[in-house]
């Protein structure tokens, strides 16, 4: 399966953003439960990586893993939102 352009763009944007997030992690970490949110984003970025990689090898397995990442990222983000709205914590 040839690589799709939009998947490549998403991966590039995702990696660029991941670098930015990790670079500002010490500041971001002051936001309530931001590590969970970042985890959700990292998993999502992993999904974007897998969707690119599936074009090169292990197509079905990586595709499955990709969708697992999307689902996991959605759940983690929902958990973050749930915790975040429940606790009413402020910025540290």
């Amino acid at each position: 399966m040839p690589i799709q352009e939009n998947e490549g763009v998403m991966l590039l944007l995702g990696i660029g953003l991941l670098i930015f997030v990790l670079g500002n992690y010490r500041r971001l970490v002051r936001f309530p439960y931001v590590n969970i949110l970042v985890t959700g984003f990292v998993i999502l970025t992993a999904g974007w990586l897998l969707t690119v990689l599936e074009s090169f090898f292990w197509g079905d397995v990586l595709n499955l893993l990709e969708h697992m990442c999307y689902a996991a990222s959605g759940i983690v983000t929902a958990v973050w939102l749930w915790l975040f709205t429940r606790q009413n914590k402020g910025i540290r």
Partner: protein, 611 residues
């Protein structure tokens, strides 16, 4: 199938998150911007997952393009979300810093407020202390004023008797010349003592700001002449030359405080005589420049007085303190004499009269005091009865018989005033206190009352008030007589209903002048040059008394001594043929059964002229 389930989970998670976001409307840490970003992200995630799910389910195969666009938007939304979070953190930091500054500022304000409160409390404490000190000072000042008033009264009362009787005794021709000299010494010593008391009181009044100018009409030439006469005898007695130099264009009549002017001049000239051993003393008076209008009607002029002596002079150190109170010169024979208040009072008096005083001196070369006054110029001879020093000998012939009531607790002063008034022909009654005076008034109202103020039982103020409330009480003339030196006592006396006020120690001139003013009586004076000139507002009353025939007078005298009213009445017709006015006076005396007065009149008429 598994992938479809996973996509559904993703779809469900996104939908659940969206629902959660909209249910929880009030989320404190989430600001409106982040909530919007998050909503956007979840929405696009939901659309993306929906596309994936529908694609798998084969419901629509035309969603690839939408999936591609939305998929590209998702990382961008994540980026925006993280950026928003960072902005929120930055905003939070700013707010925190602001809060920190605010707290610090509030802390500073609190600290400063506490300091200010402490300062206010301290100032209040100081204010309270100052108020207390002020009250203490006022109390002390009041006590001082009371003491001075009391001291003044206590000293003036006996002084009044000393000076009054010594003056009265000089009238007695039976007193030999050497005793007259002794009387003069008593009188001068009394006056000196009075001057010292007055100096202390004046200084006290100046310090209390209660010394006020009492301008009156002054004959400047006569004032200078009398002072010249006084100083010349003292200067020549010490072998000094005394020169007075004033130009002829010096205005004669001015308006100023005569007492202050005299006191300053006498003080400066007296000092010059006291401290100069040899040489001369010069008094120069000049009024340079033109007369300028002081106000619309009365022109004014500055008059300069200069007293120069050839005494020991003053050192530069002495010159600095020469006008300070209680400071006396180190040189001269008079060292330690007096109160040391003369020059201090002179300076204040000169200023009160609108001028000032200065001094120039060199040790061994003499001293020059110069003082100025600002005085209104009067165009003609003013009517100022206070400047005459003629001695009253008797009431003018034809003067009605006036009954005078003397209310005075001090026997010496009562006797002095009684003798003085009887001597010139007034009929006198006495009361020893206010209550006695009120009773006396009810029995037989007098024409004139000399009312002492400080008396036991009832004081002069109360007695005056009660008399004024009695029938006829408004017609009688009541003159307050007090040893108090304060103007406030004068005001109190006037408020109580007195017509005038005379201060002890009084002089004969003051007593007779006040009576002339209020009773409109005329006098005959000792000075033969002034015998026909009387101080009166009713010149028609003046007439030369006609002597009674000696036989008639002797018969009347005998009838009066025998209290024979009928005989006196029978003789009055004969008297009327010689002097109708005298007949009326005798009739009035008989009606009053006042034989004493009648005898006095006959005594005077027996000499053919007033004594």
């Amino acid at each position: 199938m598994l992938i479809a389930a996973l996509d559904f989970i993703s779809l469900f998670a996104a939908a659940a998150s969206l629902v959660l976001l909209f249910i929880k409307r009030k989320i404190k840490p989430l600001r409106k911007g982040i909530k919007t970003l998050l909503a956007g992200l979840l929405f696009f995630t939901f659309i993306y997952n929906l596309c994936l799910f529908l694609e798998w389910a084969g419901i629509s195969s035309g969603l690839d393009t939408l999936e591609d666009y939305v998929g590209a938007l998702i990382p961008m939304w994540w980026a925006i979300l993280f950026y928003g979070i960072l902005q929120e953190i930055a905003g939070h930091d700013i707010r925190q810093r602001e809060n920190k500054y605010r707290e610090k500022l509030e802390e500073l304000v609190e600290d400063r407020t506490a300091e200010l409160q402490k300062e206010i409390a301290e100032r209040k404490k100081i204010g309270d202390a100052l108020r207390q000190a002020k009250e203490s000072a006022e109390t002390a000042n009041l006590a001082k004023s009371r003491f001075l008033s009391s001291m003044s009264h206590e000293l003036r009362t006996p002084l009044n008797a000393i000076l009054g009787f010594s003056r009265l005794m000089t009238r007695d021709p039976a007193i030999p010349a050497h005793q007259q000299e002794n009387l003069g010494i008593i009188n001068r010593s009394g006056e000196h003592l009075l001057m010292l008391i007055n100096d202390v009181l004046d200084m006290s009044k100046i310090e209390a700001g209660r010394m006020v100018l009492k301008p009156g009409n002054v004959d400047l030439h006569r004032t200078l002449s009398s002072i010249e006469e006084m100083i010349r005898s003292r200067a020549e007695g010490k072998g000094l030359t005394f020169t007075v130099d004033y130009s002829g264009d010096l205005n004669r009549y001015i308006k100023t405080d005569a007492r202050m002017l005299r006191q300053v001049l006498i003080n400066l000239l007296g000092n010059a005589v006291k401290f100069t051993k040899e040489g001369n003393i010069t008094l120069r008076v000049k009024a340079p420049g033109t007369v300028s209008p002081a106000h619309e009607e009365q022109p004014a002029r500055t008059i300069f007085f200069q007293v120069e002596d050839t005494g020991p002079g003053l050192s530069s150190r002495e010159l600095e303190t020469v006008f300070d109170p209680f400071v006396q010169g180190a040189k001269g024979p008079g060292n330690g004499e007096g109160t040391g208040l003369g020059l201090a009072i002179s300076k204040q008096f000169a200023r009160l009269m609108g001028g000032d005083i200065s001094v120039e001196s060199r040790v061994g070369e003499g001293t020059v005091f110069t003082f100025s006054i600002r005085a209104q110029i009067l165009p003609a001879e003013p009517e100022d009865p206070g400047q005459s020093h003629r001695r009253v000998a008797a009431l003018a012939t034809g003067t009605p018989i006036f009954r005078i009531l003397i209310v005075e607790d001090n026997q010496s002063n009562r006797t002095l005033l009684r003798q003085l008034l009887q001597l010139v022909g007034f009929k006198v009654e006495e009361a020893v206190n206010g209550a006695n005076a009120v009773q006396s008034f009810k029995t037989r109202p007098p024409h004139f009352i000399w009312m002492d103020i400080h008396m036991p039982v009832m004081d002069g103020y109360e007695a005056t008030r009660q008399i004024r409330d009695l029938p006829g009480g408004r017609d009688v003339k009541i003159i307050a007589l007090t040893a108090s030196a304060f103007l406030i006592d004068r005001q109190k006396a006037m408020d109580a209903g007195c017509d005038d006020y005379v201060r002890k120690p009084f002089t004969e001139e003051e007593i007779f002048e006040v009576m002339a003013r209020h009773l409109e009586v005329s006098y005959i004076y000792d000075d033969t040059r002034d015998r026909t000139k009387t101080r009166t507002t009713r010149p028609d009353r003046e007439s030369k008394p006609v002597p009674l025939p000696e036989g008639l007078r002797a018969e009347l005298y005998k009838a009066a001594e025998n209290l024979d009213v009928q005989h006196i009445k029978s003789l009055v017709q004969d008297v009327g043929r010689h002097d109708e006015e005298l007949a009326r006076v005798i009739c009035a005396a008989i009606e009053d059964l006042d034989f004493e007065e009648l005898l006095l009149i006959l005594d005077r008429r027996g000499q053919g002229a007033p004594p």
